[in-house]
Amino acid sequence: MGVREGLLALLHAGPSHGYQLRGDLEQAVGGLWSVNVGQVYTTLQRLERDELVSQAGSADADGRVRYALTDAGRAEVVGWLVEPQPRRDDVRDELVLKVLLARRSGLLDPQAVIDAQRTATMRALQGFTRRRTTLASADLEQVLALDRLALRARAELDWLDLVEQRLEDAPPPVVASAPATSTATSEPVDPVDRAGTNDRTDQTPAGVAAELEQP
């Protein structure tokens, strides 16, 4: 990911050869990714074919060819830099799906989904934070990358808090295709002992009506 654009960006500083570029690229991203040198060479060949880079002079004593950025290559990488990242705005997010299906199916109290995810995400956030504490502010590349991960984790935790609160305030769910003869099978399975968190079992007509209006 990003090797092609990374090489183009680094060549803006002046002509360079594959081996050097690989080291520069790893340094530029704070050692967060390791770059395969073979991939660097094949990418350079493809860039040359597409006239985004050109060979600068002939091979040196070690047989290494230096490449230079062409005007087209410069335009290409600048275009890539200013192009906003595609957003992941898919509403069919799997975590959303789990909460909704737990609630609708009656298989599980959705709180169990929230609890499990919250624990895992908090643990990940603790890990990012711990790793950050070991970094000096000079390790800017890594700090920025970890900030990004940490803020994503925080957003997820905030969302889980919100889900918990909204579910508390929401009318009870209508369980999908509950068997008419047995109500026992539609009781949520509560895998965790959480006294007092699941006491909304009576369904008021208004609550049911509100539930049915949902798509």
Partner: protein, 237 residues
């Protein structure tokens, strides 16, 4: 790693405000151990019992039932004098803001707990100087709170909370009003104090700040809903 006697121990702590039909349960059945070298964050919605927990831990409030121990000593049954002494010897507080007395310099603020404790002014100031130098450049010692930034004020507050070898740090939203980068500096300092042997209990609503802790305890309706312990320092990359 952890000493056998926790710096703070709560057992089956229940706190009910008011009585009769209007009684409200602020905490119910809470157990918590906090050891030297541990930073524990307490999170939860407003009204979940976070502040009550902090007040009980510092002996500022008394449980309706259950026990609170600081440095191995049960707080209930202590005389007011003895409780105050225990608090002064072991417990330091850091609050959200306006922590410092505006008419005292940074150094005087840090020295204050010792001076109130009867330590001679010279000795208190010396200890304050050392405590302050761990968190701020020496040029700040003579400045008044309004001459310090928010982050610097919180650093002074932490120096004051730690003065005199206090072992239990109680922090209530210690970075509440600060921007992310400044807050990080304060949390780093708190972390260092804990790594140097203090124990800290920090109330925060922000999961990113809670993540600085070794353990994140989440309260819901006065009960411990979950406790998440950090796994070493390894991260999937």
């Amino acid at each position: 790693m952890t000493s056998p006697t926790p710096v703070l121990r709560l057992r089956d702590v229940r706190r009910v405000h008011g009585d009769g039909p209007s009684a409200s349960v602020a905490l119910d059945g809470v157990d918590l151990d906090l050891h030297a070298g541990e930073l524990v964050a307490v999170t939860g919605r407003s009204g979940s019992g976070k502040s009550t927990l902090l007040n009980l831990a510092g002996g500022l409030d008394v449980p309706t039932s259950g026990s609170v121990e600081v440095a191995g000593e049960r707080l209930d049954g202590l005389s007011r004098t003895r409780l105050a002494e225990l608090r002064r010897r072991h417990v330091g507080y850091v609050f959200q803001a306006d922590n410092l007395l505006p008419t005292l310099t940074a150094l005087e603020n840090v020295a204050l707990p010792l001076e109130l404790d009867g330590v001679a002014v010279g000795a208190a100031r010396g200890a304050a100087q050392r405590s302050l130098e761990r968190v701020l450049g020496p040029e700040h010692a003579g400045r008044y709170p309004d001459q310090l930034s928010g982050g610097e004020q919180q650093r002074v507050a932490i120096a004051r909370a730690l003065i005199g070898e206090r072992t239990l740090l109680l922090a209530d939203e210690p970075t509440g009003a600060l921007d992310e980068v400044t807050a990080e500096g304060v949390l780093r300092l708190l972390r260092e104090a804990v790594d140097a042997g203090a124990a800290a209990l920090m109330v925060t609503h922000d999961p990113a700040q809670a993540a600085w802790a070794d353990r994140v305890v989440r309260l819901r309706d006065g009960r411990v809903q979950s406790a998440v312990t950090a796994e070493g320092s390894e991260v999937a990359s």
